[in-house]
Symmetry: C2
Subunit: 138 residues, 2 copies
DNA sequence: TGCTTGACTTAGACGTTGTCCATTGTAGGG
DNA sequence: CCCTACAATGGACAACGTCTAAGTCAAGCA
């Protein structure tokens, strides 16, 4: 994932310890973390890092398209580092667990022109909802 | 839409002025309002209504399935009174305008078993994103 | 290497959205 | 008409996010 750091440097980003740490956290595992979770993990590596910096950095990563914002949750936004392979989400309504999924077909094609109201449609986000195996047991 | 009021009464709801007003606001037009917008409109009809009551009432309407919660927006939840005809949403990324749309096909069928991870999938929510004609002009 | 500069970071106040709780009010049955 | 359980009130609280003023530092350059 020095990939990501490389790409950022290529964009003229100033490389700071804080930004490096945020990038590392996002790369760490495949969970979709909330901003505060990212902050919590960043703090373990760099105790002085502030919340505002994490929010700023995440926001910048989103605007340049390196990270996706998903709002499956009714509370906080979550950040999805897997921005380069398009995918959708499957959410457990009980515990909030999220998995990445890849439906077949092209949902963009499923929206007829008569249903576009003159919009230029560029993207679609699908959120499947259900109950995960764990919660189904309980 | 005394329809809605009828159905609520049928469910054993105690009918109060506040609940009636909230139902009227939801029925008023087809926009997807935020909770605070609902409150703002309710206040014009019943000045003493409190924010907590609006939130409670909306929450109850959602749990009994008369109203849908949509979170296309990164900020507040919006409430969609059109709960009885399933539909999806088309959102303008610039101005936040929302339209109801009806894609063809059954997106639930587009998720292969191998992509379900043991979940019991019951629902899918699709959010198309793009730019509305108005914002495209500007 | 050491300076300079503007971008970056910080801490904490602030804003918005939403929830909770103790108190007060009231719908609807008897 | 009165009771009583359920609903409404309002104000404190909590979670999430944004903003600002001041300090700090990465990176280019002499």
């Amino acid at each position: 994932m020095s990939d990501l750091l490389e790409r950022l440097r290529g964009r003229g980003w100033r490389m700071t310890a804080q930004r490096r740490v945020v990038a590392e956290v996002l790369d760490g595992d495949h969970v979709h973390l909330t901003a505060d979770e990212v902050h919590a993990r960043a703090v373990t590596k760099l105790p002085e890092i502030s919340r505002a910096t994490v929010y700023n950095t995440l926001g910048e990563l989103v605007t340049i398209g390196e990270v996706l914002e998903v709002s499956t949750d009714k509370r906080a936004k979550r950040y999805d580092p897997n921005a380069h392979q398009p995918h959708h989400h499957l959410v457990c309504g009980q515990c909030g667990a999220i998995r990445d999924v890849h439906p077949v077909g092209n949902p963009l094609a499923d929206l007829p022109d008569t249903e576009r109201f003159g919009f230029t449609v560029s993207d679609v986000e699908m959120t499947y909802r259900g109950v995960c195996p764990n919660c189904a047991k309980a």
